[in-house]
Symmetry: D2
Subunit: 340 residues, 4 copies
């Protein structure tokens, strides 16, 4: 009954098996192996476009690397006030970009208000030498509140940004969950919606440690710089085939979507179950594998006493995260502790 | 017959098995797991001292993080002109430190000349506001030429640095190979010789991706800063237990030393074999798992034609690297191509 | 009738004369001259405390240098959303600190709400490795809206920050104007209120280019670092005596306060005059040398047509800035254009 | 008899008078004034080309800003081992570039050996992701040993660099002295020789504090970035007209060249005079306003006792610097202390 985070979940055994299979003989290091090439080819199919990518071992590194090729040090990144890049990465974006500024914007359910984007673009012009101009819009999908941007939601936010010449980054630490939730295709949820770069995360969805920065054709000319920055950040792992192996297994036969669909279903099951109890209210719509609910103190205590791990969120709600490893039995056991 | 690099070698299957064993149920993320704690305890035994550590996924990250807590942005790091941190990390030390300067120093066989250290310390004083003062001496052991510093070698170099108040970092990407080669203990080769921090590498010696920055008691007060920088660099992996698992298996029962001893022996076997051929001369003493030899063109061509991978080194020699996975048969096959 | 900014005003001729007097023979460079020492001594008298300082040629440099010795790269600076360091310095604080985050906080009239400080301190804890902890509170006095913090206002904001161990920086680009406006002493408005460092600006108040970073005793141990960073930022001018000469003349016989008093009086005169016109309302209290008023379009146009320079401010008001060089005749001429 | 440095010299009174003249009424701030525009126009005439420029208040800032628009953070700057940017700027180039590496190269009399450039270019390829590629060649003219590169000397060094696609920066802290010494034109000594950017220093040659970064047409597309970086570095002075005024007076009627010619002549007079004494030998050719001589201990002591200021240089020689303010009487008085 551990709902603390999808980072506390184990890796899916199939990915460890893939690592074992990849551990055959000698292979070129630093990403020049055949497995890495196969993953790139597979992602081109999945995203229905040409693209370039590098692997990293954390979502923080993927986000910060992506931003570092999209914004100069003297630029600015627009993001939600709750965004992981703003709240939970210890200033990694500022570090990797060489000091770009992150401007936190408001919006319900961790979706940036369209008006807030327009207002920021008006307040911070492109050609005023005294202030950092907005150069990147970063959207998290799933958001930090477990909600999803649909392709239309993305378009509404990306439109005004593109008009001013900004680049667009998607933090896809839980991208698969958003795909399943919206039913949209990877392409629709990224480059077709105007995104230039995507942080694609597998770690929270079954991998041991496998993240990628994907550059779509609009910014593929920056790939050499991305590789230089990857190396310089200590993110160009020597035996990269083991990261590639995880991605290959994860992407094969829509396995990544199956894992995400399961996690989403478990979150839905928990949300539906909790809804029956007095005083339990959803703080945000459930559109992925996370639920945020306000819990009466007694209810929270009962769950905690029974060992059902969850986090008290800064906004006062309780966050429960389901993962590929969450079972119906886990959910039902948690609900069971609350009685009839 | 792949002698290109120990990074092209596979991981030892025992470490993948350890990962599988660690993949049991939920575990605290970001290094707060029980396995990580056990590795710390084990390293305290091995190094016969209190210490603190963080894991990284590359040696580059380990080196750069270590340097970033030992030098301010306005300080300087003394290193060998051939040092990995100077030549092969795309400026990661400059990046992580916020712009500290690396001063390359000469010395035969990639061991820094004692006189060069003394000269640099004289030329770059501690209290001259116009120039970056030396703040760190970084020594690689094994060196980039495959030689080892003995404890006495270390003392001769660290002594003058310590007199001026410098910190000392050891790049131990091949630390186990140096231990085996010199017969010295981990403590003798690190803090007892005056080192404040050690980059301890397992990846080149059997791991998939497992490196550590170890802070010895002299600088343990910087551990909170090290963790902050680890996070900020995207090096605090979510599912850290899988890195810890590799280290636990690697360190158990001196397995790391056995792997290194094997690699060293294979390098020795190759060096001894090559010595019989006309025109083949060692460029550097063989004191680890790497050999550098000058090869007649025809000899080099014969080896290459037979598929024996090695690198042409910038100094004109040919570098052959043995690893835990190199077999006597590999060595003998390579030698065999050269005829009687 | 130029009210655009106190940066468009000329320098006071007395300061140029002081430069001429300082231009006698050879003098030690880089701040080691006798004039610089005399300014330090004079500031100790004025601030009634020991202190250390460096000169810079811009307020941006002074602020960014001050912040860079008060916050690590992985820390955070709390400031008002309108603060010059956030809005008007092209990310200089992020650059000089190596990527520290600025957290913009709300508050009427550009004074940070006490509750906003408390809320930020609660939301961003000191010991959460995943997020930058607040390390500095930066207050501008005068604020960006031309209001002043009194010693009591400062205490209310600095108290909660000090409880959490933050350092406090004052952006005193218009510090003299705030002193005159509040009647408080330099000590009361700085270290006695809990400030650790002060950016003291003379340029907007009569100098050609003369700014200083002052460290009070609580952080004087960082002076060597401040000097190193000053040099490294290209702010250690070779012929520093010419900056010191400006400060000496400016500080002599309360000249700086006389200049500020005049500027404040001119702003007051303009505000009082404008108050007689229909539809002209103060957007912020006038507590220094700046006034912000909402102007009917026709009124604004009349002023502009008559050549009375002012800025349209982002909040919709019109900003008029008076300086030491603004005359009663300038003010009356501007008012005169509006008729009876 | 002060020969310590041209930075200890006073400013030429004509430049202070120019400042006084510029101090008339209000003027646009931050470089948008008419004087700044006139200086740009004048420099176009002098350099016989289109160009863009920003002013700074120190040569360190000028150099570091120039390098920051010529090299990415993950690039490398080739310079002489004695270069000011390497030895005397406290890591400012590393700071401003975001961590680019400076590679110190050898060469007699502080002129980089052509072979050393070629060797560095061979050792550090452009397309090796693991190492910072050379992106800038920085040449100081005058050099740190007081020698000058002629246009042919420049061409010999810039040629190989250009072949590899490097940008070329000239540190012209004493550019006027080099012009006078070689008789070459400003164009010949800069863009016609292949330079992309020039740090043009006036401070050591009569100004109070006036330096410029000049971008020639080959890199003029980076001007907006240069301005952003100038602002972000706190180098966009509010009342820029006072820097512009210095440049205008300095450049008018070849005044800058007259001042440099005088300084060079005084250095020559001192060198010629010293040559008559036993045991006094020039360490470097005298090609500007600096002389480096080996002095017998007794001779050095006699000079010091008589109050003739000079620096003991790290290479064992004594450095004497003449400036616009050095008189024949000063020189003769120094020589006079040594007797017949």
């Amino acid at each position: 009954m551990n709902f603390l985070s999808d980072t506390t979940a184990p890796a899916h055994p199939a990915l460890i098996e893939a690592i074992s299979r990849a551990n055959e003989g000698f292979a070129p290091s630093y990403g020049n192996d055949a497995l890495s090439a196969r993953v790139e080819a597979r992602l081109k199919e999945i995203f229905e476009t040409d693209l370039k990518l590098v692997f990293t071992n954390s979502g923080t590194a993927a986000n910060a690397l992506a931003l570092s090729v999209l914004s100069p040090p003297h630029g600015m990144v627009l993001c939600h006030d709750e965004a992981h890049i703003h709240r939970d990465e210890r200033g990694a974006p500022e570090f990797f970009t060489g000091g770009a500024k992150l401007l936190p914007l408001p919006g319900d359910h961790a979706r940036i208000d369209v008006a807030a984007i327009e207002d920021a673009l008006a307040q911070w012009p492109q050609d005023f030498v005294h202030a950092p101009p907005p150069r990147v819009l970063s959207l998290s999908n799933l958001t930090e509140s477990g909600t999803a941007y649909s392709p239309a939601d993305l378009a509404a936010r990306i439109g005004p940004a593109k008009e001013k010449g900004l680049h667009v980054h998607i933090d896809g630490a839980r991208f698969a969950n958003a795909l399943v939730s919206t039913g949209a295709s990877p392409a629709q949820m990224s480059w077709k919606a105007g995104a230039d770069a995507l942080s694609l995360g597998a770690t929270k969805n079954g991998a041991l440690a496998a993240e990628a920065v994907i550059l779509f054709p609009s910014v593929m000319d920056r790939f050499a710089e991305l590789q230089a920055r990857q190396k310089r950040a200590g993110q160009m792992a020597a035996k990269m085939r083991f990261v590639a192996a995880q991605f290959e297994a994860w992407l094969a036969n829509d396995f990544w979507l199956d894992l995400a669909a399961h996690a989403n279903a478990m979150a839905r099951r928990l949300a539906d179950g909790l809804a029956h109890y007095d005083g339990v209210d959803l703080a945000h719509p459930v559109e992925g594998n996370e639920i945020f609910v306000t819990l009466p103190d007694a209810t929270a205590q009962t769950l905690r006493d029974a060992g059902a791990g969850f986090y008290q969120w800064p906004d006062g709600s309780a966050r429960f995260v389901a993962s590929w490893a969450t079972t119906e039995a886990d959910v039902d056991a948690a609900l069971g502790t609350l009685g009839q």
